[in-house]
Symmetry: C2
Amino acid sequence: MSDLILLATQKLFNGEQRRYRHYSQFNHCDMTFSVYLPSRALHGYHRPVLYCLGGLTCTDENFSIKSGAQRFAAEWGIVLIMPDTSPRGDNIADAAAYSLGQGAGFYVNATIQPWAQHYQMYDYIVTELPQLIEMHLPVNNQRSLCGHSMGGHGALMIGLRNPHRYTSVSAFAPIAHPSASNWGKKAFTAYLGTNKADWAQYDSTLLLQQKISNNLPILIDQGSADEYYPTQLSPNNFANTAANKGFKIYYNLREGYDHSYYFVSSFIESHINFHATAFGL
Amino acid sequence: MSDLILLATQKLFNGEQRRYRHYSQFNHCDMTFSVYLPSRALHGYHRPVLYCLGGLTCTDENFSIKSGAQRFAAEWGIVLIMPDTSPRGDNIADAAAYSLGQGAGFYVNATIQPWAQHYQMYDYIVTELPQLIEMHLPVNNQRSLCGHSMGGHGALMIGLRNPHRYTSVSAFAPIAHPSASNWGKKAFTAYLGTNKADWAQYDSTLLLQQKISNNLPILIDQGSADEYYPTQLSPNNFANTAANKGFKIYYNLREGYDHSYYFVSSFIESHINFHATAFGL
C-alpha cells in the first residue's frame, strides 16, 4: 500500500477540502484525488464515505468546485472522495478525442493495449482507493457512490456489480446503457475489444437485465434539455428495465435542465440527503 | 443604450443562469456579464438586484460557477448580476502582470493612457450596467453590492460613494485600503497617476475617514489564513476606521479560511441573507 502525499488543504464549511497524490499499484502511475472531510471527521469520528465519480474530461476538481456537495456533506458528516477519471501523464496512453484516453477511463479494466497497461480504473475505484481511504482517513466501512455522466455510468455499474460493498447509488445524467451509445461503443471497443460479451459486465442496463440484489437504493436525475439525453445517456432504458424487473428505483426527469454542473448543483442536496438516509444518519 | 445579446441560458435552481454581451458606451468595447434570474423574476415579478463583483483574474464566470450564491438567490427571489472585471479584447490595453490590465480593472475610471481609453469600470458598474439591467430585465430599483477581493474593494468603495443608490454592501476578503497595498499602488499609479489625492476617491478606508452616511449596512468576512490578509487586503484598517467613526459594520474574522472561493462559498449564505434582510424580503 503506497502512502498518501498531501498536496493541498483548504478550509470549507468548517471542514477541510484536501488533495492527495499516491502511486497506484493497479494503474502503475501516480494518481491524484480530492477529499472533503467534514468537521466531525476532523474531530476523530469515523464517518461514512460517498465516492463522487466525474464525467468525460473531468479531473478530481470539477465535482469539488462546481457541485456544491460539500455544504450538505458538512451537515450530515459524510466524507466525500473525488477520484480522477483516468490515469494521467506524459507516458500514459492517450487519444485526441475527449471521449477516449486521459479524462475518459470509463471505470473499466482495459484488456487491449496500449490501454491495458495503465487503464485499470474499475479495480482502482472498487478496491485500491477504498483500501487507501480506509487505512489513512477517519472513515467507517459504509460506502456509497454518486456520479455525473460517465461517472453516473461508473456509479451505477460499480454499485450493481458490488451491492454488498455499497449502501446506495445515485447518478446525474448517467451513460446508463453505454453499449448503445457512441461514446460507450468507442471506449469499450478501444479498451475491451469488439466482443460484446466483454462489454456487458460494464453496461448498467445489461447488468440490470441479468441479476440483481433488489436491496440497493438507486436514485437517478436527468435533465430533459440535456443534449446527450436521447442518444448517449438513455437513463430511460435503465429505468424501463428496472420497472420490468420489479426493481424499485427513483428516476426523475427534470424539465428544462441541461447536462452541466448547474444541473448537478440544483439537485445535489437531494442526492446527499438520499445517501444520508441510506447510511442511517 | 445598446441592446443585450443573449449568449447562453441554463436552468439553475428552477431559475435561469444567463450570459449576455453588449457594447459599452463608457468602455468603448463589447462587455460580457452573467445574470441569475430566480423563478419569481421569470414569472414577471420585478425583484431586487445584487451586483457581484469579481476579483483579480476573474471573468463573469468565476463567481457564477464557484460561489454557490444562486441557491440562496433562488430562495429569496434576488436577481444576481456578475459583471466582468475589466474590458477585454485583442485591441484593449493589457499588462503582463495578473494584477493590472485585463481582469484587473479595479473599478476605477482610468485617467492615464493607454488605460483611459477603455478602462472606465466605475462608470460602467455604477451607471451604465444598472441602466441596462433596469431597462431589459425584471428587476425593481433596489440594488446592493457584494464582492470578493478586488471586487470587495469595488463593492465597499462604490457603496460608500453612492449610499443613496445601494441598499447594502458585503465583501469577502476585500482590498479595503488599496492605497496601502502593493496591488492597489501598482494599479492606481497606472490608471490614475501618482497624485495620491486622485487615489483617495477609490480607497474605502480613506472614504470612510471623510464622510459617510451611517445608514449603509456593511458586512465583511475575512479568512485568518488568507495569505493576502495582512499585506494586500487590510479589512481590519477599514473596521478600525469604522469603529473610530462610530460607524457600525459587521466584520467577521473567520479562523483558518483562505482567500479562495471555498471561503466565499462557506459564507455566501449569510451574505445573501444579509442583503435579503436589507431589501426587506
